[in-house]
């Protein structure tokens, strides 16, 4: 192994997905562990994994029953205000528990004790199971029913089954359904919509709010903005759901069947024309016309001005960011910037975007963060002038970096403008990446 494996995008785009190199498939090799892969191995270590995501239900508490190792990192990931960590409880399993299954009775006892000892009665209890129960085939619905009968509280199951992350129903898809599962059918409000997809709200300055309000949608609800269960329950009254993340499709489909709320899906993109096209399509569906010209002009001009100021800038794009690395790379290339490297996990769904990137920049190198050869990655001195994404930053120590993985979710023109502001800040001497020692 002479260095980190990469494939030029031009070469990859010419291949059918079944002929892509093994290094791009995580199932065909060991998975390298570095800070750049932390978000893959342990999504909850930064941002949202199953534990933190499930606690989006206001006032809920979680009982994680597992060997100690599964809950070890929780104290480090308490969220910005630390409140998430305070809502976690643990029931540690030893080998005898696992062999005998006796912990299943103790879960109910533990839930009762948690409820009795809490200063404030929780709104719901989430029972989080791990790979151990995935393998044992534990009937979690039964355990939840028993615990609910015992305490009189809603008790929900959520599954942190890393073993199934590449399966049909990965943990982050299921948890997105779980967090809405306490909603009950309610009378609809014609002027209400939900935004689904993220666990934290969109940026406050996102034009989507104004555009929707201008179209008569006065009540816009997101789970990340619900302060209590009353506000949470109001989400059941939405006229429709706006789905912004594909992993929410299962939840949206459940809400359509159970609550009668239809959904429209948009994608996060950093290309102004695509943003405009999406708003136009949404308008068509809703039977309104969104007046977004001003936002479009402003974002387009800001992008053009950035490119004028930084002509020749070469960027490395990572995947630990609030963006699809391929879509963002394409957006930057179309704007006239250069993208030397993409660090990402590619799948056949990216084939079309890859072809577009290949047309503009066939030599852009695609690396898989997960490939064992990334242990040998060395940056080409002086090539990359800006890293976007925490992982890209780790590979380029000392290089200006925009981690772009904050809590407030970027979307639309406002998301693009905020990204450009951050890029400008980084290039004008903002804190560089800490990076990894070569």
């Amino acid at each position: 192994m002479s260095g980190a494996f990469f494939v030029p995008v031009g070469q990859l785009a010419a291949l059918a997905p079944e002929n892509w190199p093994d290094a791009l498939f995580s199932s065909r090799h060991l998975i390298y562990s570095s800070p750049a892969t932390l978000a893959f191995n342990s999504p909850g270590a930064q941002g949202f994994g199953v534990k933190r995501a499930a606690l989006c239900i206001p006032g809920s508490v979680m009982l994680l029953f597992s060997p100690g190792c599964c809950g070890r990192n929780t104290s480090a990931v308490g969220g910005p205000d630390g409140t998430y960590g305070r809502r976690m409880r643990y029931l540690l399993l030893d080998e005898a528990d696992i062999v005998t299954g006796r912990y299943l009775n103790r879960i109910v006892e533990a839930v009762r004790e948690i409820c009795e000892s809490a200063d404030e009665r929780p709104s719901a209890v989430l029972l989080c199971s791990t790979c151990v129960d995935a393998l044992l085939g534990t009937d979690m619905e039964r355990v939840c029913r028993r615990a609910s009968a015992e305490t009189g509280l809603p008790v929900l199951s959520c599954t942190m089954y890393a073993l199934t992350r590449e399966g049909r129903l990965p943990p982050m898809v299921l948890v997105r359904r779980t967090i809405y599962s306490l909603l009950e059918k309610a009378e609809k409000q014609a002027d209400a919509m939900n935004i689904l997809g993220y666990f934290t709200p969109l940026r406050d300055d996102c034009e989507l709010y104004d555009l929707c309000r201008g179209a008569g949608i006065r009540r816009i609800r997101e789970i990340g903005r619900c302060r209590n269960m009353d506000e949470y329950r109001e989400m059941a009254r939405a006229n429709f759901n706006l789905v912004l993340h594909p992993e929410t499709r299962l939840a949206a489909s459940w809400m359509a069947e159970t609550l009668g709320i239809a959904s429209v899906e948009l994608t996060r993109t950093y290309q102004p024309e695509k943003i405009r096209a999406q708003y136009a399509m949404l308008g068509q569906v809703l039977g309104v016309r969104f007046e977004d010209s001003e936002h479009f002009e402003k974002a387009s001009e800001k992008l053009a001005a950035f490119v004028r100021r930084h002509r020749g800038l070469t960027i490395a794009v990572g995947e630990t960011a609030n963006a699809d690395s391929f879509e963002l790379s394409l957006a930057l290339l179309r704007a006239g910037l250069a993208v030397a490297e993409i660090f990402a996990t590619v799948d056949p769904a990216h084939a079309v975007t890859l072809k577009c990137i290949a047309e503009l920049s066939p030599d852009t190198r695609l690396y898989s963060n997960l490939s064992p050869s990334m242990l040998l990655y060395r940056q080409k001195e002086g090539e990359v002038g800006l890293a976007i994404g925490q992982d890209a930053g780790w590979y380029h120590p000392g290089c200006p970096c925009v981690p772009w993985n904050g809590e407030a979710q970027p979307f639309g023109y406002a998301g693009l403008c905020a990204l450009l502001d951050e890029m400008e800040r980084a290039l004008s001497g903002g804190a560089p990446c800490a990076g990894g020692e070569a």
Binding site: Y32, P67, G68, C70, Y90, A162
Partner: protein
């Protein structure tokens, strides 16, 4: 309720301890998991990982691997990477997934070793034990393999003035590097201090039979010390030569003191406090630990904690004047008791994930050996 944590979070587990002991040895470490354990081990329990690359990999097990028992595939992947990286050995570290499906980690290691011709170390951790058990297991496996009984090259001549330090991991020391630990031993007059796993790698392990004496600084080093005593006749003592001076100063005037940490460190703090003048007369100093304890250091009135409830009873009902422990454990104190007690923070990385301040390392007291020339066949550590 036994095993229920309402205010604390879980402590570092055996798999983290094992990886910590092996981290600087230059081998390939394969954590036999689905990814989450690797994330916890590296992202939370291994402070060196943020700034120093190491060949740690997740097996990336998926449900079908577990259902079909695809051990052969795992060996193939491991051998491919080990061959490409040219590592001197590979270690296969167990987690709950192989424990539940009954993977034979030893057989995996034998298959890999046969295939590639380099040592494959099986580390049969399960994710349910505590870090010291895993660190001890990995360290002893390493010595047995790379410094075997009867290896004449390992013991051909003793290095006068050299001391081997056993049991050092960031989980015990709260530091990414062991420079201050080595310095503490040099201050004792040793010419060379070899901190296995923190500054001294595989080359030092291979020559472990040559050191004049070993010093155990954490219970995880006890089994290795016993092995090196029986294999090479190297005597060992038990010591923690760097009790922060501020701890002793902060406990001034306290008559009833409770010290909680890993057992060797906690007993060293007790020794340091006993050596300090106490104007109020004789002090009562108890030691408590969640982790393995060295039997010869246990005194009547000491505590072995099993869980949060155990700790809460002792903290809230003990009428302590002063508690020396990681501040994180203070979460279990009732409001009233907390108001009466002076809490002196002694970070323990395996408990809270907090590192020790530079000042604590620079200004330490060496309370001397806690045990000298401990026996070969002594009692095993107990929990």
């Amino acid at each position: 309720m036994k095993g229920l944590l309402k205010r604390l979070t879980p402590f570092a587990t055996d798999q983290s301890g094992a990886v910590s002991a092996l981290y600087e040895m230059g081998g390939l470490i394969v954590i036999c998991d689905a990814g989450g354990c690797t994330g916890n081990i590296c992202g939370f329990d291994e402070p060196r990982w943020e700034h120093t690359r190491s060949a740690i990999f997740s097996a990336g097990l998926r449900d079908m691997d577990a259902i079909l028992g695809r051990d052969e595939l795992l060996v193939k992947k491991t051998v491919a990477v080990a061959r490409e990286l040219g590592v001197p050995f590979a270690a296969v570290v167990g987690t709950p997934v192989p424990a539940v499906i009954g993977t034979d980690i030893r057989a995996l290691a034998r298959m890999g070793e046969k295939r590639l011709g380099i040592p494959f170390l099986p580390v049969t951790t399960t994710g349910t034990g505590l870090y010291d058990a895993g660190a001890g297991m990995a360290l002893k496996t390493l010595f047995e393999r790379f410094c075997p009984v009867g290896d004449s090259s390992a013991a051909e001549e003793k290095e006068e003035g050299s001391v081997g330090v056993l049991g050092a991991t960031p989980l015990d020391l709260g530091r990414s590097e062991g420079g201050h630990l080595a310095a503490a031993f040099l201050r004792r007059g040793w010419k060379k201090a070899v901190c296995y796993g923190m500054g001294a790698g595989l080359g030092a392990v291979e020559k472990a039979g040559r050191v004049a004496r070993n010093v155990v600084i954490a219970p995880s080093g006890m089994e290795s010390a016993r092995y090196l005593l029986s294999a090479f006749g190297i005597p060992y003592s038990v010591a923690w030569p760097m009790v922060p001076r501020r701890i002793v100063e902060s406990c001034a005037g306290a008559r009833r003191v409770l010290v909680i940490h890993q057992h060797v460190c906690a007993c060293a703090v007790r020794r340091a406090l006993e050596g300090a003048p106490s104007p109020q007369g004789e002090r009562q100093i108890a030691v408590g630990s969640f982790f393995e304890r060295v039997p010869d250091l246990i005194r009547t009135g000491d505590f072995a904690f099993c869980d949060e409830d155990d700790l809460a009873k002792v903290l809230n009902g003990g009428h302590w004047d002063c508690i020396v422990a990681d501040a994180f454990l203070g979460r279990v104190m009732d409001g009233g008791a907390a108001g009466r007690v002076r809490w002196v923070d002694l970070p323990h990385f395996a408990v809270s994930g907090r590192l020790v301040e530079d000042g604590d390392c620079a200004d330490g007291i060496d309370p001397g050996d806690l045990l000298t020339d401990a026996p070969c066949g002594g009692r095993s550590c107990e929990r």
